[in-house]
Structures are given as structure tokens and as C-alpha cells.
């Protein structure tokens, strides 16, 4: 069993005892995000430090560490980079990557999970695990089984030297963001454009929420909503420099896993906007 799987299993085992807020539908789900130490880097083989958390306030560690199941770091040449010094703490996960290539890296946590609720012997039971295991999750004799497929993706991008675009290729599964403006070329006062896809097709009409970090130090919630157009494109002008959370989610019935009634797809990216 991989280290990631053992992290995830211990999380799943404790799920029944946890507050189930994070496992409920999108309206009650906490924000989930990765947070990079930097996004524009120079020098020889610089290090990138990434934190992961489930927390509504940006970018504070105050609810739960992000499980790192499904972590994939793609280097500019398309190969996988290995994370080092992984940690899954109380409120924060973290890991480090040495960026040995010039170009743009993508760090992504992609969760392909399922959540089930069923009745057995008059008791309500819950199960959470990887989507591929749903077949063996619900015991025979279970009744009123409700299965939700969770497809979630959280990303950050970092560039050493000149930006490249090789890591922008979408997988075609779940909600994904394909940059039009390079995510490591964002500056205060400038407009950026991105494309949102759902299962590889434009996520037309879907709302995207964009919130600047530092929520603890202001009164306004600070979020703005933009809507993806028929091609999945949306644009946003950054009011000022800082780290921004960008997120979108949707619920539908497009799920390939057996017995699932619905699919919750969500995406977040943490983007750094530099001052001019």
C-alpha cells in the first residue's frame, strides 16, 4: 500500500466520527486548496513548498489537513516529479519539490472518491473511500444506499525561468481549468482569461468564485463571481497583488461508478498575482 493510500485510509476510517460537513453536498462543503510558497522562481534547482488544507478562510489552517491522495506533480517535460518531506498534520498537509527543470510545473491533488450512506440492521452507516472500491463498499443486505461520486481537483502552478505550457493539457475528467493567460504571468490591474472544462467539454454557464487571500484582515467576504461562457472562457481583472483562490463546483448525474446517483465535481486553483 502506498504512503498516500495509508494516509487516505486513516482519514476514511475516522470519517464516521468526524463532523460530516466536509462530506456533504457542495453548499456545505469547505473550501479545499493547495498553497505554494512561490510561483515565479529563478536560480538553480529552487525548492517549492506546498501546503494543503480544507478550510474556508483564505489561506488559514483551521479545519482539516488536505489528504494528499492523488497528488501528482508534473514537470515541464511531462514527467512526474517526486514530492519530498510529506507531512499530514492536524490542520495542514505539506510537501516540498525541488524544481530541477526550467519551465512550468503543475502540482495537483486529484481525488476520485465516493461517499456512501446506507441502512443496515436499522442503523445508518457511512462509507468513504476511492471510487474504484465502491463495488465492495456496501455490504449485501444494505438498504436505501445513496452513493455520491466525488471528483475533486486542486492545483497550483510554479515556473522556473521562462513559462511553458506543456502541463496545461487537460485529462478530460471532472472539472478542470485550462489557462489562456499563463497562471505564472499574473499582475495587478491586468485581465487574465482561463477556460473551464467539465469532462473535457466547456463548462458553459458555470460560476467561478475568485477570492483574494487575507480574509482574516478585512470585513468583506471579498469574493467575486464570474461565469464561464459557452466556450468555457471566463476573465477577471486582478484588483491588486496577492494570492487568490479560484474555485468552481457542480453536481450532476454523470458518474461512471456503479450505484452512484450523483457526481460532485469541484476544482480550485491558488493563483499568485504580483505587483507591477
Amino acid at each position: 500500500m502506498s504512503r498516500f493510500q495509508s494516509f487516505f485510509r486513516s482519514f476514511a476510517a475516522g470519517a464516521a466520527a468526524l463532523s460530516l460537513v466536509s462530506l456533504a453536498g457542495p453548499a456545505e462543503a469547505h473550501r479545499m486548496w493547495l498553497h505554494p510558497s512561490a510561483t515565479v522562481l529563478s536560480g538553480e534547482d529552487p525548492w517549492l513548498i506546498v501546503d494543503g488544507a480544507i478550510a474556508n478562510e483564505l489561506f488559514y489552517f483551521e479545519y482539516y489537513a488536505l489528504p494528499l491522495e492523488g497528488l501528482a506533480i508534473t514537470a515541464p517535460d511531462g514527467t512526474s516529479a517526486e514530492p519530498q518531506n510529506l507531512n499530514h498534520g492536524h490542520y495542514r498537509s505539506s510537501f516540498e519539490v525541488q524544481l530541477v527543470q526550467d519551465g512550468t510545473y503543475k502540482v495537483a491533488v486529484a481525488q476520485d472518491a465516493a461517499f456512501a450512506k446506507y441502512m443496515q440492521d436499522g442503523e445508518t452507516k457511512y462509507w468513504r473511500g476511492m471510487a474504484g472500491e465502491i463495488g465492495s463498499a456496501i455490504p449485501a443486505g444494505a438498504e436505501e444506499a445513496e452513493v455520491t461520486h466525488l471528483e475533486r481537483r486542486f492545483e497550483v502552478f510554479a515556473t522556473v525561468g521562462a513559462p511553458t505550457e506543456t502541463v496545461f493539457t487537460p485529462t478530460g475528467k471532472g472539472l478542470e481549468m485550462v489557462p489562456v493567460t499563463h497562471p505564472n504571468d499574473l499582475f495587478a490591474g491586468e485581465e487574465a482569461t482561463f477556460k473551464l472544462l467539465l469532462d473535457g467539454a466547456p463548462a458553459a454557464g458555470l460560476d467561478v468564485e475568485i477570492v483574494k487571500g487575507g480574509s482574516r484582515y478585512r470585513d468583506a467576504a471579498g469574493g467575486e463571481t464570474v461565469t464561464a461562457d459557452s466556450e468555457g472562457l471566463f476573465s477577471f481583472t486582478w484588483p491588486e497583488a496577492g494570492m487568490y483562490w479560484l474555485g468552481a463546483e457542480t453536481v450532476d448525474e454523470n458518474t461512471g461508478i456503479p450505484g452512484a446517483q450523483k457526481r460532485n465535481a469541484s476544482y480550485s486553483a491558488t493563483l499568485e498575482v504580483l505587483p507591477q
Binding site: 515565479v40 529563478s42 536560480g43 529552487p46 515556473t159 525561468g161 521562462a162 504571468d185 504580483l274
Partner: protein, 172 residues
Amino acid sequence: MRKLVPAGLTASLLGAPAALAGEMEINVEIPRLDVAEYHRPYVALWIETPDHKAAANLDVWYDLALPDKEGTEWLKDMRQWWRRTGRSLDMPVDGISSATKAPGTHQLTFSADAAPLADLPPGEYRLVIEAAREVGGRELLRLPFQWPPEDAAEETAKGEHELGAVRLTLKP
């Protein structure tokens, strides 16, 4: 006859040339700062078009003597230079890389006969100077000019914290 004048050398080292070639002279003041921990700033000087495209690099002052190119780690802090041109370069680049400079006024001279000015198409430009200092701030100044200059011209600017007085002098 093409005179080879390495960028960055002042004209006085070669003996005053006959007034054949046009010339650009830049005087940059690095301010003397009264701070507990002082590091010489990284400074980049380059020429851009009005829409911010880099037209020519003039000089970059950074810790190029550090082993394993360690000094390149902080080049990104000159964030406009980095974005417009620096990130596509493999520093150090011959002729446009120098060590950091101490507080005081420093002079650079470029002949219109030599790179990079010899290859600069006629038009409107800005001289851009960006400084970033460790445990310090960052400042950027732009001085507009026309190339080639029809008449002698001078532009000045003054920074507020990381750069002092800057003077751009053009001789046709």
C-alpha cells in the same frame, strides 16, 4: 568603419573618440542608506518599447561571483525585468552581467555603432532601471527617449528609496 566598444565601459577608458558615433550615457546613483543590514542592490537596466516589450538589455548588476550560480536565485526580484526579458536569459550573459555596485554614482556609456544600440530600430523607447535590495525594497524608474536622437537630449529621474538620481544623456 565599425568601432567595437564593449558595452559598459566608459568612453574615458578608450580615449575620447572623435565625435563620429552617437552615444548614450547613463548615470545611475545608488543611494547610501543608513540601515542595520545593508546589501548592495540587484539592478537591471534595459530598453523597452512603449508597450513594455524589451528591446535591449544594457546591464544587470547581481551577485554573479557566488559559487554554483547562487546569485541567480534572486534575479526574479527585479520582477519587471524578469518578466519582460530576464526569465528568458541564461545568466550570466556576456557583456550585460556585472557585480553589484556600491552606493555612489555609476556611469555607463553605449556607442550607437555597437551592440545593442546599433541594432535598435528607430522609434520611441524607455530606459528602464529596476533595483531590488535584500532586506530592502524595490524601485523602478522609466526615462523616455527617441532613437536615434536628432539633437542632444537629456532625461532625468529620481528614485525615492532604492534608486537615487538617474540621468540619461543622448548625443546624436
